[in-house]
């Protein structure tokens, strides 16, 4: 036995942990990390990334480069889902209302950090590297990358805090579009850098053509797949099937984008835009379905992002460039988005708080840095990769928190609540009618009828002398008694009442109450204390109305913001 156990234990090492186990570990650890950070009022996404850092390259190395490489398709899939869901937010009405603001702010918040980072790195790099060509080439490339914002963390914060309003809409629009701008600026920057360093691989026109292919191809793939999915969803109503088609579409878009070497985020986003803007109401249902499917995918995605970050090779010079890059990016985003907001006459909350929502960088930035390293091997490439990795490390930790602060200050948190959220957050006491008319069991039929005529309730709890619940009288019970008025005092509430099949308590989560109502097809449920005293009643018809009016109230509040 001990020999057997010894053999088993000696065969186990961190390197031998299989991918499924690591995925489980990442998902578990990430979720716990998210919860811990949530308790500290820091967005959960930071917790996921922090756990990734802990188990990854910069931490305990439980997840190594090979594993991360093996899981790369999974990351693409997560990015595809993020793009698809971002597209789902861009309805025609949103584009019509905020379109001008999107474009103006996008240009300012993208180009300003580009210019500032280029100049800052160019000037300071000239002193550090003693090579102005290298410094300005690096500046241009870093500047282009600085214009990109990470859509993944931003949308994750928006999702976690259920935000709704002009700042949320503009943020989604900007993060959806600024990758495209970053690509164009990168083409321009790499051409100039190529001329400066003498490493011309492609002409500017060729590169522009290439970028046009990437953007155009992405849009085309997105339009075609979105259109096909739109046609499919109109034919089916079964939720499981709709979800399978949607996930299938995201996988197809992702796979096609990789094969065709186009922008998968843009392609998936376009598919989402096409679907949400179809006339069918199923588009919305479909996005709700996919949203329910995404949480574990996102947790894993962010844990893997954290695991991938390796800043162990940071030198003094690189550290200085990291500082300069951060100052340039953050000030550029701040100045650019503020002026973009003023020029496009965006609401005050957008002008004031948008910059704080744009600090995160990740996938696109890292991708472009790797591309740049291929174009410019040597000092420029190496410095670029290490600077972007280090700054991604920092912005991924501070970006989501800043984004949360911005959305909170703009009063948009909690305004995008769905029926499920209200149910999840409420208790029975929050939705019960505490002013329910009570009927004593010894009240006569005329007294009961008079009580019914005074209020519009459908259910009346019957109580004993000590206010304890005995039963309930419904409209159905009383209907037959209307024609038997001659019975007068012969019939009491006691004779009319029905037994209560189910009760609930004030602190019971509304989710459990709703589940009991649905399972037993209840029309009402009395809320009682531990000693069975009636505290209120929840009528199913009123519950639905109450939830809907709460949602409408929050939406109205969001619409009033701008």
């Amino acid at each position: 036995m001990s020999e057997f156990l010894g053999e088993i234990i000696s065969g186990v090492s961190l390197q031998h942990l299989n991918i499924l186990f690591l995925l489980g570990l990442a998902l578990f650890g990430g979720t716990i990390g998210g919860q811990l950070f949530q308790k500290l009022r820091i967005p959960q996404v930071v917790g996921y990334i922090a756990i990734g850092i802990l188990i990854g390259e910069s931490g305990f190395k439980i997840v190594n480069q090979d594993t991360i490489q093996a899981l790369q398709p999974f990351n693409y899939f997560a990015l595809g889902l993020i793009g698809f869901m971002v597209g789902g937010e861009l309805k025609k009405e949103v584009l019509a209302k905020y379109g001008k603001q999107f474009v103006t702010i996008l240009l300012f918040e993208g180009i300003t950090p580009f210019l500032l980072v280029t100049v800052f790195v160019g000037v300071i790099g000239t002193f550090l590297f003693k090579d102005w060509k290298l410094a300005w080439s690096l500046g241009l490339l870093l500047g282009a990358i600085a214009s990109a914002t990470d859509p993944a963390t931003t949308t994750q914060v928006i999702r976690e805090y259920k935000t709704r309003g002009p700042l949320t809409k503009i943020l989604i629009g900007i993060v959806a579009l600024d990758d495209g701008l970053a690509l164009l600026l990168f083409v321009l920057a790499s051409s100039i850098a190529g001329s400066l360093t003498g490493k011309h691989q492609m002409t500017l026109w060729m590169k522009l053509l290439h970028t046009l292919y990437e953007i155009g191809g992405s849009v085309l793939v997105g339009v075609i797949t979105g259109w096909i999915l739109k046609k499919i969803v109109t034919k089916y109503a079964e939720r499981g099937r709709l979800l399978a088609y949607s996930i299938g579409t995201v996988l197809l878009v992702t796979g096609l984008s990789i094969v065709l070497k186009i922008e998968l985020l843009l392609a998936a986003m376009t598919a989402g835009i096409i679907l949400i803007n179809s006339r069918s109401r199923k588009g919305k249902i479909l996005f709700d379905l996919v949203e329910q499917f995404t949480p574990p995918i996102y947790v894993l995605f962010f844990v893997l992002i954290g695991a991938k970050l390796n800043i162990s090779h940071l030198s003094g010079v690189s550290l200085a460039i990291v500082g300069v890059y951060l100052v340039g990016t953050l000030s550029g985003k701040t100045i650019g988005s503020h002026f973009g907001g003023i020029i496009s006459k965006a609401p005050a909350t957008v002008r004031k708080y948008l910059p704080f929502g744009l600090f995160s960088q990740a996938g696109v930035a890292i991708g472009l840095s790797i591309l740049a390293a291929q174009y410019f091997p040597g000092d420029i490439g190496n410095t670029l990769v290490i600077v972007i990795t280090a700054t991604t490390f920092i912005t991924q930790l501070i970006g989501p928190y800043c984004c949360k602060v911005a959305l909170t200050k703009a009063d948009e948190v909690g305004l995008d609540i769905t029926e499920e959220d209200i149910i999840a957050q409420s208790k029975a006491k929050d939705v019960m009618d505490p002013n329910i008319p009570l009927i004593n069991e010894n009240q006569t039929l005329p007294q009961v009828l008079s009580k019914f005529s005074e209020t519009d309730n459908l259910f009346y709890p019957v109580i004993d002398e000590e206010n304890r619940l005995l039963g309930v009288i419904t409209i159905e019970n009383i209907k037959d008694a209307f024609s038997s008025f001659e019975l007068g005092s012969l019939i009491l509430a006691h004779d009319l009442m029905e037994p209560v099949t189910s009760v609930t308590h004030p602190e019971t989560p509304l989710f459990d109450v709703k589940e009991a109502i649905d399972r037993q097809a209840l029309e009402f449920i009395p809320v009682v204390s531990e000693d069975n005293m009636v505290l209120g009643i929840i009528e199913t018809r009123n519950l639905q109305r109450q939830i809907s009016s709460r949602i409408l109230e929050l939406r109205k509040q969001a619409d009033m913001l701008g």
Binding site: N442, E476, A481, S484, E486, S489, L492, H494, D495
Partner: protein, 148 residues
């Protein structure tokens, strides 16, 4: 649902006791003898609890004790005539009760329950009806009045 559907001719009697509790008890026992109910004690308890809430003596010498319970599946009735009159019935007119009509309906037989009570009250409030019942000499005579 008519009274005759719920009243068995064997469930009609002349009451030998003249207190409310004993009169109700005798009628419940009679229903048990007729095989209409099983748990006699529980039904008595429920009927007396109901009387405690408010007396079913509705005046004119008439008492209609009644309950709904899961212990029966069909409405059942029993009639008792007390020649001496039950003076502790606590009727709304403070007069003795001569005719006691016991009604037990199933828990979900709301409509039949109300209908039976309504029919009984209409019948018994006919002028001279209580006198006729008081002067009856056989249970068959009483049964025929109720069964129509």
């Amino acid at each position: 649902m008519e009274i005759k559907d719920s009243l068995n001719r064997k469930c009609v009697c002349f009451l030998t006791r003249n207190t409310k509790t004993e009169a109700i008890s005798q009628l419940v026992d009679l229903l048990k003898t007729c095989g209409k109910i099983d748990d006699v004690e529980s039904i008595k308890e429920k009927l007396l609890y109901r009387e405690k809430l408010m007396s079913t003596g509705i005046g004119l010498g008439l008492g209609i004790p009644h309950i709904r319970t899961e212990m029966v599946t069909e409405p059942v009735m029993a009639v008792g005539i007390c020649k001496e009159g039950i003076s502790d019935y606590d009727s709304i007119d403070n007069k003795p009760v001569w005719v006691v009509l016991l009604i037990i309906a199933g828990k979900d037989q709301h409509r039949q329950y109300i209908k039976l009570m309504s029919q009984a009250v209409t019948l018994l409030k006919e002028p001279g009806m209580i006198e006729t019942l008081k002067n009856s000499t056989t249970s068959e005579e009483i049964y025929k009045i109720f069964a129509g």
